[in-house]
């Protein structure tokens, strides 16, 4: 649209353009969103099969191939768990909110330290960088919400969300790190990372 044809045609009928633009806008009736919302899970499943699964398989194969040469000790990366509360207390059935909060704080700190150390050493391609920035934005949003949380009951789901996002971020950063370290194994200094956790 840049440049427009008015440069070529100096006399477009501006009154017609103005009259057409002045026509009222319309909306679909009845509301279309409920139909679209119903189609959402189906579409998402299809998307997962199309993009995420092949990507996950590729990432798994890459990591399996690269890990033996990686200078990072196996225990240097924080364990990823769907429910962080169970990581350090496998025997606990349902921790009390205060206890779970403490565990989430600890896990959050561990993840942050690990991510900070890895991020400083691993170059990111633009795609990973964009994904990482998006996740960091979401973490920032959760932090804002945490600032306004009243009591443990409000804070608990937000801390769970924060830890889940940090785990996402760790996955993004960690993959880049594994790839970078594999290509740079001779020059890498494993000790610096092993101190992190």
């Amino acid at each position: 649209m840049s440049g427009r044809d008015s440069l070529i045609d100096p006399s477009p009928d501006t009154t017609l353009a103005a009259a057409l633009r002045a026509l009222p806008e319309s909306a679909p009736q009845p509301d279309l969103w409920p139909e679209l919302a119903q189609a959402l899970p189906q579409r998402r499943r299809r998307r997962v099969w199309r993009y995420v699964l092949p990507a996950a398989i590729a990432a798994g194969v890459a990591i399996a191939l690269l890990m033996p040469r990686s200078p990072v000790r196996e225990d240097s990366a924080p364990p990823v768990a769907s429910n962080p509360a169970t990581v350090s207390s496998p025997t606990a059935t349902q921790p009390a909110p205060a206890q779970e909060l403490t565990q989430l704080h600890q896990r959050s700190q561990t993840l942050e330290r690990w991510i900070a150390a890895v991020a400083a050493r691993a170059p990111q391609d633009s795609r990973d960088l964009m994904a990482a920035v998006e996740v960091e934005d979401l973490i920032g949003l959760v932090d804002v919400q945490l600032g306004g949380a009243r009591g443990d009951a409000d804070a608990l789901p937000l801390w769970r969300q924060r830890v889940a996002l940090l785990e996402d971020l760790a996955t993004i950063r960690g993959t880049a790190f594994a790839l970078a370290e594999n290509g740079d194994a001779e020059r890498a200094n494993p000790a610096s990372l092993n101190l992190v956790n």
Binding site: A19, A27, R43, R47
Partner: protein, 191 residues
């Protein structure tokens, strides 16, 4: 109503959530563009049922592809192109009439104000409905959405001179429809 009505900025955070499949973020995007997208579809396909179908298909396409949107161009422009493509595809599928041509000779306009200056919205919408679908689409894409003739030629699979002639002839036909009160099937808005 103009291209500017489509120029809605969506916050990066909402886009990020939508890329992750967050239904609320997708609804937020849908609500923001509901009216300009549907209106554009309506002007191209010419009736409410088809416009609704276009909108439905365009939004599903958006949901499927939003993860691929990388932010190199404005989001609204990306979405608008999806809507235009869906609408033109539907026209091609549903009507051979898309490519019907009109043969209007350009006439000197004289000093009198153009009839669309004086016409109310309902009358102008009826007259628009009297134009062949492709002519109406080209007229709308050029005057309202501010696409260039080159862009319109690429989207319709026609030449630049064809786009220019449709804009010129469409204007003449519209003038005649309004002058003569040749009223076509209603293309009135539904909301």
């Amino acid at each position: 109503m103009s291209a500017a009505s489509f120029q809605i900025e969506i916050p990066e955070l909402v886009l990020a959530r939508a890329r992750r499949g967050d239904a609320r973020a997708l609804e937020q995007i849908y609500r923001a563009f509901e009216r300009p997208a549907y209106t554009l579809a309506l002007r191209i396909v010419g009736d409410a049922d088809n416009a609704r179908e276009v909108m439905h298909d365009a939004m599903l396409r958006l949901i499927e592809r939003i993860a691929q949107f990388r932010g190199d161009a404005p989001f609204w422009g990306w979405l608008r192109q999806i809507v235009v493509n869906e609408a033109l595809m539907r026209l091609r599928r549903e009507r051979g009439a898309m490519f019907e041509d009109i043969d209007e000779r350009e006439e000197p306009a004289g000093d009198a104000p153009a009839p669309w200056v004086l016409a109310d919205a309902a009358r102008l919408e009826r007259a628009l409905g009297g134009l062949p679908a492709l002519t109406r689409s080209v007229l709308w894409l050029y005057h309202v959405e501010e696409y260039t003739h080159q862009e319109i030629a690429e989207m319709t699979g026609k030449s630049v001179s064809f786009s220019k002639s449709q804009v010129a002839r469409g204007g003449v036909r519209l003038r005649r429809l309004l002058d003569n009160e040749e009223v076509a099937p209603c293309l009135a808005a539904t909301a």
